[in-house]
């Protein structure tokens, strides 16, 4: 298939703020455009601090939030035209979300496999119990788990890494073309972080899934993405090939972001200074 997979064209989302008096508007996402090609799957990282509009953008792409202006097209079709159960399911099949906090993504009172089976039935059309088991197990195998490990478990019985991988497996059941991952590793601990990030890379390389990787972690973005978009206050301030932009950022905001990244190379040298408190320097233990 050729042509663009996802086109985001001059998309704006504004929220009304304030009370009865002095009502104003706040542009959470302001005039953003980018394109993902269908024949060339890529990992596109969207980087920005909290409040930069990353999640609002993701929600608009997932069609859970209507943009105020501009258009989002998926395989050439405007997504606000997706109406009716069949077309909506078809859309959901192709774009799947992965949320930030795996502990909040699953209902703590329900067994985890319930979500997997529901996805298998509704999105992969698995009718019989054996087809369901097969679809769920195949997806879990792709993320390095198995149905036996997950079946009948409640969210609190799985570790954060296992839960996040289960969430990814759930997204994979319908074989999507695009995964929108909103901060998928920020709640997962560092040693598991690389296993999730490597998993995304493998999904991209082997299953040819495009991934929209929304993050504030520049180091993992540098590690896996092909292209980055750096957002500040709803606007794109810099975009380009990941390695190039993150090695030599041009925009002052990108430079600030890069300088805020804590580096393991700074052991004991202490660059920990707040903006408000420049005088503080690290003193030795004794």
């Amino acid at each position: 298939m050729s042509g663009p997979l996802l086109e985001v064209e001059r998309v704006t989302k504004s929220f009304a703020i304030g009370g009865l008096f002095g009502r104003g508007h706040f542009n959470a996402v302001d005039d953003i455009s980018f394109t993902l090609q269908a024949d060339r799957p890529e990992i596109l990282a969207i980087i920005g601090e909290s409040g930069s509009g990353k999640t609002t953008l993701a929600r608009m792409i997932l069609n859970t939030l209507q943009p105020t202006g501009g258009a989002i097209r998926f395989r050439g079709e405007a997504i606000d035209d997706v109406r009716g159960r069949r077309r909506r399911l078809d859309f959901i099949r192709q774009i799947q979300p992965i949320l930030q906090n795996p502990y909040e993504a699953f209902n703590p009172l329900k067994r985890v496999d319930r979500y997997l089976y529901a996805s298998a039935v509704r999105l992969a059309g698995a009718r019989s119990q054996s087809a369901r088991d097969e679809a769920v197990d195949a997806a879990l195998q792709k993320v390095g788990l198995s149905l036996a490990e997950v079946k009948g478990r409640f969210p609190h019985e799985l570790s954060g890494g296992q839960l996040q991988r289960t969430a990814i497996a759930r997204a994979l059941i319908s074989s999507p073309a695009l995964i929108v991952a909103d901060e998928p590793v920020s709640m997962v601990d560092a040693s598991l972080r690389m296993s999730i990030v490597n998993l995304f890379k493998r999904l991209h390389d082997e299953l040819k899934v495009s991934i929209l990787y929304i993050t504030h972690d520049l180091a993992t973005a540098y590690y896996i993405s092909d292209r980055v978009i750096i957002m500040q206050k709803g606007k794109i301030v810099e975009t380009g090939p990941a390695r190039e932009v993150l090695t030599h950022p041009q925009h002052p905001y990108s430079i600030l972001l890069k300088e805020s990244v804590l580096s393991p190379d700074d052991v004991g040298r202490g660059r920990l200074t707040t903006a408000a408190d420049d005088g503080a320097t690290r003193q030795g233990a004794d």
Binding site: S50, S191, L218, D265, T274, A275
Partner: protein, 361 residues
């Protein structure tokens, strides 16, 4: 109330009462298990298994390890915030400001030292702020009783404290939902340090904050700790955070401490293969080489493997690793490691990993 629990010693008194030589916190062979007994099936999860460590005065001691390695359980045990099914099976927890084990204290004595001399920034601590009351009320709830001041003097002290931490006094009149995540985290740090406690326990205070805010919050924690002169046990799974804040570092794996060193040494020359993996797998800008993730999962603590807990995932595993649990051994001044491959000095642990079920009720 004993003299050691004097509710309001001046900083000078504190120094006299506890000379520099005593550790701020000495944990000795601490074991805490989750003991459950359902339908006749007994199960014990050894979340903290034979941990000994000392935190020096004025130091930030970092504790690293993946989730389910027992870090949070260890903190709960150290803070004496233990509730069934978590049970302290053995060992002692002694603070520099107390003359006896924290578990020897009565409930009233414990509640007198909590927050006043020992404060605890819990995981997800932004959520400790009461969502339907202004921040001011949270300060009253947490600290008013401990400060022993009149209302006006109390708020003056709170505002002075906020000013020291570069927070505007008008945060007191905000509701928690009006503050950003980073701001809420700063307010909870102010809450935890308002009584100028001698010891602060921090559990993942910066997880899920974004990079810019994270750096500011870490700097604020470090500055507050230096200014009060307290000691701190700082837990996070993020090694880059440890690199920037901790003076010394302990690494936990499956309920046990596997390595301890000064932060600089730990990063320069990790001895335990697990630590070496943690340090080597950190992604860095400008380093496109592939970072391997560890295969396998941490062991089930209800049924830990025999021998070294790490041997199933360890690239250097030898026969001895499968047979006997290595003891945490001092291999050089200030360095301890529990790995046979790291040093010939490491010997099997006396505890040997024998099941304790039946021995205790």
């Amino acid at each position: 109330m004993t003299p050691a629990l004097d509710p309001d010693p001046s900083p000078a008194d504190r120094l006299r009462a506890a000379p520099q030589t005593t550790a701020a916190l000495a944990v000795d062979r601490l074991r805490a298990y989750y003991m459950t007994h359902y339908f006749g099936v007994e199960r014990e999860v050894r979340a903290v298994d034979d941990i000994s460590l000392a935190v020096r005065r004025n130091e930030i001691y970092g504790l690293a390890g993946e989730s389910s390695s027992g870090k949070t359980t260890f903190l709960k045990t150290v803070a004496a915030a233990v509730r069934p099914p978590l049970t302290v099976v053995g060992g002692s927890v002694r603070y520099g400001f107390l003359d006896r084990d924290i578990y020897a204290l009565s409930r009233a004595e414990l509640s007198a030292i909590r927050w006043r001399r020992l404060s605890y920034i819990t995981q997800g601590s932004m959520n400790v702020l009461n969502p339907v009351r202004r921040v001011r009320q949270s300060f009253v709830d947490f600290a008013f009783r401990h400060m022993g001041l009149g209302r006006r003097a109390f708020f003056a002290a709170v505002e002075a404290h906020l000013a020291r931490l570069h927070l505007a006094p008008n945060v007191l009149d905000a509701y928690p939902h009006e503050l950003s995540g980073g701001m809420k985290q700063r307010v909870t740090i102010a809450l935890a340090t308002i009584c100028r406690p001698e010891f602060i326990i921090a559990d993942e205070p910066t997880t899920a904050l974004d990079v810019v805010v994270q750096k500011d919050v870490l700097a604020m924690i470090r500055n507050a700790q230096r200014e009060i002169g307290s000691s701190m046990l700082f837990v996070t799974h993020d090694m880059t955070v440890h690199a920037n804040i901790a003076d010394r570092l302990g690494v936990m794996y499956a309920g046990r401490l596997v390595e301890e060193a000064s932060t600089a040494e730990m990063f320069a020359k990790p001895l335990h293969p697990y630590t070496a993996h943690l340090v080597a797998s950190l992604p860095k800008i400008g380093d496109p080489t592939r970072k391997e993730s560890l295969s396998g999962a941490p062991p089930n603590l209800a049924d830990p493997p025999t021998g070294c807990r790490f041997h199933l995932r360890c690239p250097l595993a030898m026969d001895v690793c499968r047979a006997a649990l290595p003891a945490l051994t001092t291999t050089a001044p200030g360095r301890r490691v529990a790995c046979y491959a790291a040093s010939p000095l490491v010997t099997p642990s006396a505890a040997g990993g024998a099941k304790s079920l039946g021995a205790i009720q």
